[in-house]
Structure formats: structure tokens, C-alpha cells
Symmetry: D2
Subunit: 295 residues, 4 copies
């Protein structure tokens, strides 16, 4: 059963259902077990809701066991290669599988401090974050009290489960998890979309770190054929969009200074809502530019 | 005679004049010698003009000797500490005294190729340039023919002399050598100048290099108390102005995203006219910004 | 046969076809007659092309008779109510049925001068124009020579025919006649679309004249539910978009000056390509705004 | 004594002083009388302060008599030509000497209602206002209670006196009464100030009224040689700055649409602080523009 469909899950036998979704909640097939009676779900949203309800209805020690079943971020299990497949891919999405020595030390320090204070691992829905925002969140959440962290950790577990379901199961509905980051280049010197402009998106931090997310070019509408990030959460964090406008204006035959006043234009901004729509356009002449959060 | 005044130079004896200005043209006191008869000058412009006229009137081999008397950029003389005081300061102004191995190799390769082709050292008025623009110019001028390079080298020598005169001699007039780079931050969210914004100016390149030129803060008019660069040429090259606007809006009590959409705003631009006025303002809200070459 | 479909026209008998399309070319059913043999057309574009080909293939005197069959703009036939239904609607679209005395005099003067010079009425595809642009065009075309005007008049006749076909006949394809004028209001103070902003579009001129084209409000995306002008040519001419932003910011609880610095924001611009896409957005804070031709 | 100087007033005899400044407060030479003992003043500010102190120290009925001594705005005295010279000029500055019938009726209705409610005329420092802002203020102040209006009326009397002193008496200091309205046009298509652009400033309202305040052109810095309004309060009200940019870009040889997308650019804004500095620049290309309240 490589491709799961919601209809198939609604129709299959009890055991197959539990096998198929047993790892949606980390090392906790009992959640799928508890949800199976609520079939048929009819929608991915209803399936997710049923699983969340099963966790919420579980006694406190079982909830705690669920939390404890999660691995540390960039922890021993990760280095030992003993993570679940889902956890491995998730941690890699934020670059936690390729940390510098310094970053690794920071994660270990924070993991230890967190476990020491709360008795559970630090849990966060990594696909909604960048390395930098995880570290920042880590520091903040360390300052919470135990009850708040228990609740927050469960919420993050539910987000992780939602993203896993959304990736795994084909259904008519999608869970509302996808943000979008897009751009648009307008040549306000010529009064038209700026086509064929090289655009690169970098994720910044922590420190001076800089990771290329995507490289593309504007099309004849001045947009990119695909959103820079789409169909998934836009990881919370700081970004730089880099537009190469000098060559564009030169090719258009516009008289330019030498070197041109504007050549490579970086736009730095941050994403705070992983499910938000971020449209970050560039309005540009050889002598001016502007940008804004559009919609 | 530590402080030279034009009036003093116009009135002093012949020998003192030549001693005082003997090094305005590199290792070539004959230029001051030739100009002395034209006294009194009355203005710095007239003094410079007289020295230029003396060079132009000299026979070709003497002009060539003047060119040959110049040191290589980042060359052996520089490493040996045997440059004139003026040349030492000039080369330091563009960072030629602290090149990486790779940059040093580039300079040596270009110096050798240039001397090989033209029989004179590569001469450029370094105070009008950055490391990056010197290297770019070097490559370009290597493609010229000998006559063009002889003329260009002389023009650069006259610029070097002008800047040396302008620094050395007090007079009522100033030589028209000063460019200006300034900024202004307007908070178009609140409708007022943005005060107390940290502003840093970096010189970029070659490669990923990044050198802090000046760090300051905006005053109550949203400007800086001093121009970022003023009273001297603005070295040709690429720059980044970096404005810290996130903390400013936070302090103003403006509701912001977390992290704020705009926090550190870099503006990258290039200077092509060392004697130009570059006003590069920032109009900013928590969700948008724009910039332009103003005046 | 109130609703014409292309399939019906392709299948019907000869006489019905000619009756149905006999007035696509003014008082000239012979054009439909000449095109009928080319059936089936399969597309509106092919039908239009066949009619155009029929006119182009006709002898010069027949072409001239077609031109002469057109009424004057705002002429006697219009006042007498003896225009074809199509002409009546077309002339009304540009306000030619409600001219001031002064404008009427201008049209009569130009009509007479044109007929005097060229022996044909002044023909223009009125739906692509405003009163002001018609008068401007009139003056310009009066300066042409007869051959150029014969050709231009035919081109305008083909445009008129195309718009009539496009309105009259249902088909899978549409003729490429529709321009679009749209707007978008972004609140760059709050970082979101500005919803519920009253927007009015006025057509300006000639002189101080000002005619309301459409009044609407922005929706939650900061756009209007319908384009301001869409599905038809955007008449060439000058416009003013008027946005009421003061009340919007007041309602948002933003501290404003009294009276607010920006309250009613007019944006004046001109349309030159009737089939173009004009996106004219407003980026606005209580203290700043910008606009541009977008796409 | 046609030109008054502060030094002269400080030195002259008692009677001359009172004669010279007897009309600074409307029909109330007793204010000058009461202030004379405080000489020498040394500054205009001290003189104004002394006169204000004299009024504040006067018994309530005398203060009331001062208020009652003021004429109605656009009232009988104005029509009869029996205003003081100062009042005549002041009322003319806001156009109260050339009201339409309708406006006149509005003023009479408001004058009567105000006198009926408060027993004093409606007093406002007219030079700080436009017709529109006076009518708006009138309606608002009618809603106040008597004590508030007594205090407000006195404050306005002190402002009137300050402007009269500032115009009448030469001194080393000036009273802080002057606002400023200025503009600046930047051609962000060409990267330079836009020179020789016709600029007109209109005062708007009430209703559709539109009064030309000043017409000028930008100089080579893109600014106007004089501020649009300077050296006096900027009357509170709504304005339109109108820039003729189409001809400018045509003359620059920039390819433009026909008609150009931007030709005459109006910028509408309001002034709320008569003593404020309003810098309202235009950044413009043939296809975009922006403006903001600068400083």
C-alpha cells in the first residue's frame, strides 16, 4: 500500500488502517487505533480531528508518553541514524542534519536544559521553521512553565501529524498548512513587467549563515512560473531575495552609470506566519526601487 | 613649515616653495620648479593649473620619467616600506596595504602584464577608488593602446596631484574634488523623520569582501550629523547601506510581526562618479520600503 | 433568431446568415453575402477574417461606398434618430449623444472639414475612445493625405465590425478586443490589503469635463470584485481614479492628523492602448502613497 | 513712525509706544498701556508675552469686552468697510471678502448661532486658516461650552496679536509662527532632479472650489526657488499640488505612450499644523510616481 487514499483508508480493514497511519504520531500507533472507530472520515480534516481528539481524550500519562517518544532535535538518535523516516526528513528540512560544531553545541545545551526543566524533549513542528527560528523559539520556550509547555508541545505534535497526513494521504481536501512566498518584478522605467530577471531566495542565519533556497528567473509577466515557496509552510525565519537587475536594464539598452547604480538588489525580510501568503514584489528603475508585503 | 598656506607659498622664497611642493608630483620636484615662476597664483586652482601646464610642456621623455617614477600598486616598494608618505597613505585608503594572498596575486599579475605591455607602472588616483574598482579598471586599461594609456596615466597623475595639493595647502578656494554620500530615513508609517536609527555603510568586494566604512545613527531630522562620505572623493565601487529599522518601530510601539517583516534593511548600490553627490534615502514602514538616488 | 451562435450561423441557410449579419458592416449586407461561401468558419476569428477579406477584395468604389455609408459622429442622422441601432449605441458609449453646445460645434466643424477634404465621413471605432481622444484624433487625421485616410478608415471599419461580431455572436473563441482596467489598494501602514475603500473612476475631458464611469469598493483582497473596465476596450483617454483612504485609516484606529494628511487620493493617468491591460494600484499609508502601471 | 523697531519701541516715550501698538489687540489700546511698564523687552517674544500677561491679568469683564470688540467674520462691518486695517487684510487672506452667496449665508447663520449661544463673536486667527477649515472649526466650536469658548477665543486673540506684532515690528527674533510648504521633483527614470517642471498649488474647498495659490517651476535641483508657502503660517486646509510631467519627459526624449500614461499629476493633501513644515516631493517616472510627507 504505497499510495494511501482517504477512500481506501475509510474502506480498508481495521489492521491495515492502523498499520498505515501508525507512525503519524511518533512511535504511538495507539492514536490511529483510537481513531479507527470514527470511520468513515470523508475528509482529511475529519481524520486529523479524530486523531487529535483521541490524543486529547487520553490520560495525562499517555499524553506524556507520546511527548517523550519524540526524539531530540539534532540529538543522539539523529546522529545514530535511528530516527523514524518522517523525523529524519523533517529534521533535514530545516538543515538540522548539517549543523556546524557551534550550532550542534547550542542544540545540545538547549536540549539538556529543556529536558532538565520539563522532563520531555523539546518538540516543534520543524517544517514550519528555519534553524534560526528554532533556536530563538527554544530559548523562549525554556522560560515557560511546565503546564504551558505540555500544551504547546501537544499543539506542535498535532501540527506535525497534520503535515504527515497531508503528505501521505490523497484526499479531496487539503489541510490548511500551505503558505506561499512569491515575487513580481515591475520595470517602472519602461512601464512593463521585467522578464528574465535572475531571482534567488536565500534563508539567512543563524549568524552569517546563508542557504540558497531556490534560484529562478522571472517570466514575461515579471513573475516566477512557480511560487518561490508554495504548497507547504513557509518556514518562519529571515530571507533575502536577490534580483539581478543591472544586466536586465543593460540588455534593454537603457543608459546606465558605470558601474550601474543598481545591479544586484537584495531585499531582506522575515516570515512570521508559516501559513501566510507573502508576496514580495520589486518595483525598479535603474535609479530607484521599492518593495512591500503584498498579497 | 608644517601648515602650508597659499599666501605663504606665493610669498616665500623660491627654494622653500620647491621644497614644500616637490613631492606633489611623485619623485619629480622639477614640476614645482617649473611652476614657481608663475607666482603669485592667488588660488589653488591656478597653482594646480600651472603645475599641470609644466608637465604638459615637458618633453615626452621627461613625462615618461614622471610616470615611471610612480610605484606599483601593492608592489615591492609598498611591501618594503619604501613608498613616499603620500603614496603610502593613498594605497592604504583603498585597502591595498591589507590584501589577501589571492588579491595580492591578482595585483602582481596585473602589474607585470601592464609593465610588460606599456613599460610604465599602472597609475590610478587611488583615493577615487575601491579595491574592486581598481581591479576592474586595471583589466580594462590593459586592453588600451600605448598612446591612450600614456594620456590616461597623465590625467590620473594630475588628479593625484590635485588631491595632494588640496590636502596640503590652505587656500580660499578648494579644488572640485569632493563628492558626497548622504542618507535620510523617513518613517512613512508615522509621517516623520526616523531618528536614532543605526546606519552602517559597507564597501563591498571584490568577491564577498565587506569593509565597514562608517557607523552612525540618524538624528532628529532623520539625517546623519555628517555626510557618510564628504569633503573627499566618494571611492568608485559598490556599497551597502544597512539600516536597523526593526528596533526603531518596536520602540515606537508599532504592532509588528514576530519576527518583524523588516528588521535590518540593506540597500546595495554603486558609485560611478567619485565627485558626484549621492543621496540615498530610505522611506520605510514596517511593511514596505523604497529608495532612490536623490540629490 | 435573437441569440446568434457561431454553430447556428455555420449551419443555417444562406439567406438567414446574410440577414443575421447584414448590418455588421454599416448598411452593407454585401459583405456578409460575400463571406457566406467560406462557411463553416469554426471560429469568430475566421468569420471576421472572411468578412475583412471580402471588403479588401471589393473594387475601390465599393469600398468607398462602404465608407460613405457611415454616419457622421454627432451628426444630423444622430440628431434625427435615424442611425442604425449599432451606431446609436456606439455613439452613446463615448457620450456623443450628450454633447455640450460647444462640443457639438467642434464636431460639426471637424465633420465638415473632413468631408470637404476627403469626401467621406470621419470613421473611428468609437467604443475604443472617449470624447477627448476622438477630438484629438480628428484633428490629427485631418492632416493626413487621402490614401492614408482611406486605409485608416477601413481599419476602423474592421474594428467596428469585430466589436459588433463579438457582442452579437456566441462562439468558443472571443475576438482579442478586450482591454482591462483594474486596481488594488495595499495598506503599507498595516501590511495588508485595504478593504472596503470607496473607489471611483472618472473619465476626464475635454476641458474640465468629468464623467463618472464606475463607483465601487475594494474587497477583502484590496481589489474590486469586477475589473473597473473589462470585457471590452478601455476607451483611449484620460482618467482619474479616486480613493477615499481617510475614513479607512480612521476606522482602523490609526492616529491621524486633523484633517488627515491624505483623505481623498486622486490618481490621474491616461490609457493609450484600448486593448491593453492597465493595472493601477495604490500603495498607501496615512502619510505617503505610490502608484504605477502594473500588469 | 512708519517702520517700527523693537529697539525704538523700547526707547520711545510712553505715549508713542501706546499709539504704535494700540491696535495689536482689536480696539483695545489698554493692552499696550498695561504692557508699557515692562519695558525694555529686548525681544519680540518678551513683548508678546507681556501683552498676553496684561490680558490674562485683566478682570473678566474687560477680557470679555476685548472679545466683543472683534468683528464678525464676513459680517456687517466687513461689508460696510468699517473693519480695522488689520482685520480687513486678515479676512481677505482667507478669501472671506469674496464669498459666494451660499458661503455668505453659511457664515451669517453660524455667526448668529455663535453669538446667540456665547454672547461674543466667533474669533479665530484667520491667517492660519482657509475658508474650508474656518467653516469646519466654526461648526465644532459651536458645540463647546461657554468657558471653553472664552478660553479658546483668548488663545486665538493672542495668535492674532502675535502675527500682527511679527509683521509690524522689526526685531532680532521672530515669533515662531511660520510654517513652510515645499516640494521637490525627482526623476527616478533618469536618476536626477527634474528641472523646469511647472508646479501649481491650489487651495481646495469648500465644495468644488479651487483657488490658485502659487504657480512656479522647478529649478535645476528639482526644487522651487522659494518655498510654495513660507515665512507665514500654512493655512490649515486641503491643497492640490499639480505637476506637469508629460512635457518634461517628452523633452527629455523618453519614449512615451500617446497620450502619455502620466501627464498632469495632481497630489491632494491636507495641512493640519499651520506652523508645521510640509515637504511634499514627487518621485516620478513616465509610468509611476510616489509622494510622502517629508521634512
Amino acid at each position: 500500500m504505497t499510495t494511501l487514499t482517504l477512500d481506501g483508508l475509510d474502506a480498508t480493514d481495521h489492521a491495515t488502517f492502523v498499520t498505515a497511519l501508525g507512525d503519524i504520531f511518533e512511535h504511538s500507533p495507539w492514536v490511529a487505533e483510537a481513531a479507527v472507530a470514527a470511520r468513515p472520515f470523508g475528509s482529511l480534516a475529519a481524520l486529523h480531528e479524530a486523531m487529535v481528539a483521541a490524543v486529547r481524550a487520553a490520560p495525562a500519562d499517555r499524553q506524556r508518553a507520546l511527548l517523550v517518544a519524540h526524539p531530540d532535535l539534532a540529538g543522539k538518535a539523529a546522529r545514530a541514524g535511528s530516527l523514524t523516516a518522517s523525523s529524519t526528513a523533517e529534521q533535514a528540512s530545516a538543515g538540522l542534519d548539517r549543523l556546524s560544531e557551534e550550532e550542534l553545541a547550542a542544540f545540545h545545551r538547549l536540549n539538556d536544559a529543556y529536558r532538565e526543566k520539563f522532563g520531555i524533549p523539546f518538540i516543534v513542528c520543524v517544517r514550519r521553521h528555519t534553524k534560526g527560528s528554532i533556536l530563538r523559539l527554544f530559548e523562549r520556550r525554556l522560560a515557560n512553565d511546565a503546564a504551558a509547555e505540555h500544551a504547546t508541545a501537544l499543539d506542535e505534535v498535532f501540527r506535525i501529524a497534520a503535515l504527515r497526513l497531508d503528505q501521505r494521504v490523497q484526499a479531496a481536501d487539503r489541510l490548511p498548512l500551505a503558505g506561499r512566498l512569491s515575487t513580481h518584478v515591475l520595470d517602472t522605467h519602461g512601464g512593463s513587467p521585467a522578464k528574465d530577471i535572475p531571482v534567488a531566495l536565500y534563508e539567512l542565519g543563524p549568524g552569517d549563515a546563508r542557504r540558497l533556497v531556490v534560484e529562478t528567473r522571472t517570466n514575461r509577466d515579471g513573475r516566477t512560473d512557480q511560487p518561490l515557496i508554495g504548497g507547504r509552510p513557509v518556514p518562519i525565519g529571515t530571507y533575502e531575495l536577490v534580483f539581478e537587475v543591472g544586466a536586465y536594464f543593460a540588455k534593454r539598452g537603457v543608459p546606465l552609470a558605470d558601474p550601474p547604480f543598481l545591479d544586484v538588489v537584495p531585499i531582506r525580510f522575515a516570515v512570521a506566519e508559516a501559513e501566510g501568503h507573502y508576496h514580495v514584489p520589486l518595483l525598479v528603475t535603474p535609479w530607484s526601487f521599492s518593495t512591500y508585503r503584498g498579497s
